[in-house]
């Protein structure tokens, strides 16, 4: 039976019916009716952030660690524009977000009213879809459609822009089961003929490699399980993108580590030399491929992706399969088993021998000393001292992010949240808050840089208010390290504006917010500091003072091929081609 409710009540009821228990938001004039409706109910918990960008990143962390959509509520104008970075981040990394924005009353739209902005216009390019709801009659349908669109097919952020008068007016409410989207029917089952061809190609490979990505994580834990089963059945090596870490356990011997710009020597060389490349849920991003015309040049390529536009976008493939990773993996496994496929044993052992030789280069190694903490060492110690717990890691963007990806192994999916596509400094801390909300008893750590953390540091107030024991582990190298590294490599060491001058005292800063601050400056202090950080209840900043000039290696310089990596021990005098300098 349809009920008459106010627009604001429809919003709340639809959220509840969609299974939402938490929203991240910030109030303002154009959403006051919804805030009033929130006040009068107790099914949905509202987390008050300190900046709307933080709300979206928190919702992203919530979504990525649970597999459920994250929900955001912000006001019109500046509330909406502040959310844009988070929305773009979610679009690039395929994170399901439903963002509700207030809008000025319908009769004021277009009049440059106070706090009016063209929210649907501005967010059209950074959402999967968006709606301006002009009457309460449409609201119930749009609310349910929004959840459907955000979570089906390739997930992504959606915006529902709701004018203030629509929030007050009455309209009919119906439940989600009554809403069927008119056009959007993403394909989840892959084409079975193509899957059969792919299985043939996989079975006959001599030098195969699995290259997996965030699509496996988005597809759900079943996809990770199926991937593990299939990869073990074949005995083939596997690597993954930054976004895909954790889908396959890092402790497994078939795991090569991450690939791409800061991937391992063995992963990138295996990609370069492979004869069959099996891409499942990754998108041939430029951080992964390096120079396109030298990318896996001798290989036949299989690409499984739920988004047809990802296939043949950057790299031409031989078999493109449009479908959800879990469905396609299930079919692959079934066909492999029913045809009693066996990998080519001799070829495979020769291939592994080659890979082991690459692995023996130990491309992630680094030298420690007694005087100064090496950033890689800090992350390794963090792992050792937290691995027995239910640990979730988020990161900011920069060298520390890459070191985290390299040196913090993940055994399970959904434990690693990082801004991959957009590379948003300021993502990690609010994301950690979202993760902690979803997993109150888990250990949630933001591995941060001293520059990045300042971009959303205000959320420390949120963490304190909601008693969220999030840990901020700052790899403090006093530089925008990644920028400094590129300046060293590309601009002859002219460190233009990349020094983190006038840093706050992070210990005092934590204390000023009512959190705990700890500092570790020497290797001998590191373990105790980390243990204390973990043991102290409540939010903590650990300011880990590290070597200022450490570079992140290995590295494929821009415009280079996978087999042209710079390794840490022969990085001296490395250069970048003129063409490479044009790239980011």
């Amino acid at each position: 039976m349809a009920q008459e409710l106010t627009g604001a009540e429809i919003v709340i009821k639809a959220l509840v019916d969609q299974g939402v228990d938490t929203i991240f938001g910030y109030p303002g004039g154009a959403v006051l009716p919804i805030y009033d409706a929130l006040f009068q109910q107790n099914k949905i918990r509202h987390i008050l952030v300190r900046h709307e960008q933080g709300a979206v990143h928190a919702a992203e962390g919530y979504a990525r660690s649970t597999g459920k959509p994250g929900v955001v509520l912000v006001t019109s104008g500046p509330g909406a524009t502040n959310a844009v970075t988070g929305l773009t981040d979610a679009l690039m990394d395929s994170i399901p977000i439903v963002c509700l924005t207030g809008q000025v009353a319908t009769h004021l739209i277009g009049s440059d009213a106070f706090q009016e902005c063209d929210t649907v216009g501005i967010t059209r390019h950074c959402t999967k879809h968006n709606w301006l709801v002009k009457s309460p009659q449409e609201l119930t349908r749009v609310m349910h459609e929004a959840f459907y669109v955000a979570t089906h097919g390739r997930p992504g952020p959606v915006v529902i822009d709701i004018p203030k008068d629509v929030q007050f007016q009455k309209g009919e409410y119906t439940g989600p089961q009554n809403v069927v989207h008119r056009t959007y029917r993403p394909k989840v089952k892959g084409d079975i003929e193509k899957i059969k061809q792919a299985v043939d190609l996989i079975a006959n490979a001599k030098k195969p490699v699995f290259y997996t990505g965030g699509g496996i994580i988005n597809s759900g834990t079943v996809a990770s399980q199926l991937l593990r089963e299939f990869v073990r059945l074949t005995g083939y090596p596997i690597t993954s993108t930054l976004m895909g870490l954790g889908a396959y356990p890092a402790s497994d011997k078939q795991w090569l580590g991450m690939l791409g710009m800061h991937g391992t020597f063995e992963a990138n060389n295996a990609m370069h030399d492979c004869d069959v490349l099996i891409n499942i849920g990754a998108r041939f991003d430029d951080r992964v491929t390096g120079r396109l015309d030298a990318f896996a040049p001798h290989s036949k390529k299989i690409h499984v992706d739920i988004d047809a536009s990802s296939i043949n976008k950057n790299v031409r493939v031989d078999i493109g399969i449009i479908g959800d990773c879990a469905h396609v993996l299930e079919d692959m496994l079934r066909i492999w088993k029913s045809k009693a496929r066996r990998p080519d044993k001799d070829a495979l052992s020769a291939w592994w021998k080659q890979i082991e030789a690459w692995r023996a280069r130990k491309s992630l190694s680094f030298k420690t000393n007694d005087d100064i903490i090496k950033p890689q060492q800090a992350i390794q110690r963090l792992y050792e001292l937290s691995k027995h717990r239910e640990t979730y890691i988020t990161t900011e963007v920069g060298q520390h992010q890459m070191w985290a990806a390299q040196h913090f192994p993940f055994e399970q999916p959904n434990r690693w949240m990082t801004s991959g596509g957009l590379g948003t400094m300021g993502y990690g801390f609010p994301a950690a808050i979202g993760v902690q909300i979803a997993h109150p008893d888990a250990l949630v750590i933001d591995i941060a840089g001293e520059a990045s953390i300042q971009m959303c540091i205000q959320e420390l107030s949120t963490a304190v208010q909601f008693m969220l024991p999030v840990k901020i582990f700052i790899i403090n190298n006093e530089y925008m390290g990644m920028v400094r590294q590129w300046q060293e490599l590309l601009h002859e060491g002219r460190y233009s504006h990349s020094y983190s001058d006038s840093l706050p005292d992070f210990v005092k800063l934590a204390e000023a917010y009512g959190a705990t601050g700890i500092r570790a400056s020497k290797p001998s202090e590191l373990d105790d500091a980390i243990k204390r950080m973990i043991d102290v209840p409540g939010p903590v900043i650990l300011d880990c003072v590290v070597d200022k000039f450490e570079n992140c290696y290995p590295m494929i310089p821009s415009g280079a091929a996978h087999n042209e990596m710079i390794l840490g021990d022969d990085a001296e005098g490395a250069t970048v081609s003129e063409e490479g300098k044009m790239l980011v």
Binding site: H129, G153, S309
Partner: protein
């Protein structure tokens, strides 16, 4: 490699839900990703169903054309995308209104040429004509070219509309 670099011209029909912003979405896709639009036409084609049909003429390498279609197809309000250049044998038409001003010999010549192009006169004054001409874009180009020395003052073109031959719907 060589073959993939060739630039092709494709006519793509897109059936969309006629909801607010749908045209902006399509155009934004082209500008945002750097694709070309040679012409674009749009109108509602089914009032009851609220569907509109957009016809886009675009140029690009085969890989870009494939991308354009895939990108259009993933827009949420899109029902169907059809590449009329490859998926079907199709007919294309464009209409133009062409204003020519002049007197004397030039005026007579304009009328005579219009007749040869089966252009209709839809407005006339002592010193001007407006012609309505329909056909393939190349025919319209040719007609406009001929009118130029005869006093062409204004042109309004619809852009291409296209439809597949045979009994099937899109």
């Amino acid at each position: 490699m060589k073959k993939d670099e060739t630039i092709e011209r494709h006519t793509i029909a897109v059936l969309v839900d006629n909801e607010a912003g749908v045209l902006a979405r399509v155009i934004g896709l082209f500008s945002g990703r750097g694709y070309n639009i040679e012409s674009l036409t749009v109108a509602e084609v089914d009032q009851a169903e609220h569907t509109s049909r957009i016809t886009i003429v675009t140029v690009g390498t085969p890989m870009v054309i494939e991308q354009i279609k895939a990108q259009l197809d993933r827009l949420v309000p899109v029902h169907r995308v059809m590449d009329l250049t490859v998926e079907a044998n199709s007919v294309e038409r464009e209409m133009a209104l062409v204003k020519v001003a002049g007197t004397g010999e030039r005026r007579v010549e304009a009328l005579r040429l219009a007749d040869a192009f089966r252009a209709r006169v839809i407005d006339t004054t002592h010193t001007s004509f407006i012609f309505e001409v329909t056909g393939a874009p190349t025919k319209i180009d040719a007609f406009i070219g001929l009118m130029r020395p005869l006093g062409l003052v204004d042109v309004s073109r619809t852009g291409v509309v296209a439809i597949a031959r045979g009994p099937e719907a899109m």
